[in-house]
Symmetry: C2
Subunit: 340 residues, 2 copies
DNA sequence: CTGAAAGCGCTTACAG
DNA sequence: CTGAAAGCGCTTACAG
């Protein structure tokens, strides 16, 4: 910067003004400075600027893993939303491991960022104390922790799961299995979505049969396939499956296909998340569209508001994203291969 | 840091020594300092450390989009590999747009990082001049640009594509379509994989039929489905499809399923990338395993070597990752649903 | 519109 | 083993 100033025969202040778009600069001065910058190939040193400004322009995004399509697509949306607002995203993979999720809120890497968008999967209400150390802007995603020192963006888990179940009921299904339950858990997406499922059944006057509820700790394709296999091996009668997320539903679909069970002829399947893959599976998968873009945009906006005005002590907000049911072949049956 | 020093009654140098693990410190001194750090809730300011050290500990990773599963899985692998070496990854999405790919190598955001792992999709040999500005460690991924001021990690595109085609030939297929070609392009994965396809056919004494080669600019599921539809609409006779990546192959599979074409009974399908989804599609998709983990690890290692020794002027390296063919239902036919 | 100067919070020769 | 001091490259009151 000093070299640029020397070459342009101005002070460093003037160079700084040009770089930062300070408006009251004579055109000739600006041109001189810009020429010097170009000739010297100068670019600002971010570390120095950040040190001086006390901000980095980086926000953290902590998710379980990018190899899970839902989180990859969420990360994509968050990166775009942040970019629109001039921020850069630093992704942190926690692997849904409790210690790593705790480490993220106070680790070294946190120091790089002005704030954090945080999507824990292993923490529970007992861990809320871990968030007490947070003295920076934080936005929580998901349903693991409520009441932390953070704004919160969630899905309509109960309502959306109820709508998904009602969609299956509307197709005449009565023996609806659930894949992905977490026994004994009172918080988290699993518990809330199961609740929605139960309410829909109750509203329809159908008793909830515990035999229809299959566990799956991790919500991956593999665990969905295993849970589906268990249901079938146990001889549970069923005419529909509600995968508590798309990966589970796709795993269940895979297992049904492997056993030559016709979908949706014999068993209808619905998922949750509307990842891109669901529009291309065979059959295509009905699912819940959870408003991922809206979630990403809202989270970034809430975080930025706190970053830009750290002294603002308005109460923490909770925003619930809209959802919709996407009906595809796995519940409607159009496009089922001939021969089925 | 001064506060910590004051509280521990030592100099800031000593505090710095403790933080950075300098070995020759009296145990009592270390304990005093650590107590002070804990009491004050002190943590180092990254911007200041980076400014002083001239390094940030961040490396950039520029990919087209995270919503493409291959790149999501690649990012996952790169983040893990970098973490093992104490580095943090900053992901940049270019959308496979030429201007954005150019911007990435010299943009503002570049200033945050010590080096860049760069996977362009739109640049070509004519753009090699754009890399002339690079005066920092750079590792290239993919086949768009060779000879830049960078180490380079690639796949065995030609050999792997040839092996994929030979796998189809070994199943008795003779009319093998290709989905995803880029007409007129002489560089890039499309051209190289098409070359491998052609060689396998020539070796088998089969003439290459241009009618079997379908274009698809972007390698997404949607474009794969469209290309497949075009082949079928044109009445091209075929008994196999080689999708130049998995997304294309999954799109083709989707279109075949939609039209009640039996896979692999009537048409065998193979892809390229071995994304996780291929193990769960119906039918499961045969594919080329391109050594993604190895690519990620090698790229991070090469980059770090340059970062750690910027004066080292050993010649730029090119590393080619191993591949293997993964045979699944879409070419072997086990597990095909009854009724087909 | 522009200049001279302080200071953001570290690390690291240099001394002892 | 530890201290005093310079300096990394910016931005920003303060002056003019």
């Amino acid at each position: 910067m000093h070299d640029v100033a020397a070459r342009a025969a101005v002070s460093v202040k003037t160079v700084s003004n040009v770089i930062n778009g300070y408006p009251y600069i004579r055109e000739t001065t600006r041109a001189k400075v810009e020429a010097a910058i170009a000739e010297l190939g100068y670019h600002v040193n971010m570390s120095a600027r950040n040190l001086r400004r006390g901000r980095t322009g980086l926000i953290g995004l902590a998710v379980p893993e990018l190899s899970l399509p839902y989180f990859a697509e969420l990360a994509d949306s968050v990166i775009r939303a942040a970019e629109d607002r001039g921020m850069t995203v630093l992704i942190e993979q926690t692997g849904a491991v409790r210690e790593r999720e705790i480490e993220v809120v106070s680790g070294q890497r946190r120091q790089f960022t002005d704030g954090l968008i945080y999507s824990p999967l292993a923490l529970g209400p007992d861990d809320i104390g871990e968030l007490a150390v947070v003295d920076y802007p934080l936005v929580l995603l998901g349903e693991r922790i409520f009441g932390g020192p953070a704004d919160h963006v969630t899905m309509s888990n109960v309502e959306a799961a109820r709508a998904a179940t009602e969609h299956l009921l509307a197709q005449g299904r009565r023996r609806i299995a659930v894949v992905g339950a977490h026994a004994g858990e009172m918080v988290g997406s699993a518990a809330l979505r199961l609740q929605g499922y139960q309410r829909a059944l109750e509203d329809a006057g159908i008793a909830v049969d515990p035999a229809l509820v299959a566990e799956a700790g991790l919500w991956h394709r593999a665990t969905g396939a295993e849970a589906m296999a268990r249901l079938l091996d146990d001889g549970v009668q069923l005419d529909a499956v509600f995968g508590l997320n798309d990966a589970l539903a796709l795993g269940a679909l895979h297992e049904l296909h492997r056993r030559r069970v016709d979908v949706p002829g014999d068993v209808a399947v619905i998922g949750f998340d509307d990842i891109e893959e669901t529009a291309y599976s065979a059959p295509t998968l009905s699912t819940v569209h959870p408003g991922r873009e809206e979630i990403a945009r809202t989270a970034v906006d809430l975080l930025l508001a706190r970053i830009e005005d750290p002294d603002d002590d308005r109460p923490f907000q909770q925003v619930i994203a809209d959802f919709s049911i996407i009906a595809r072949e796995s519940t409607l049956g159009e496009g089922t291969p001939a021969g089925h």
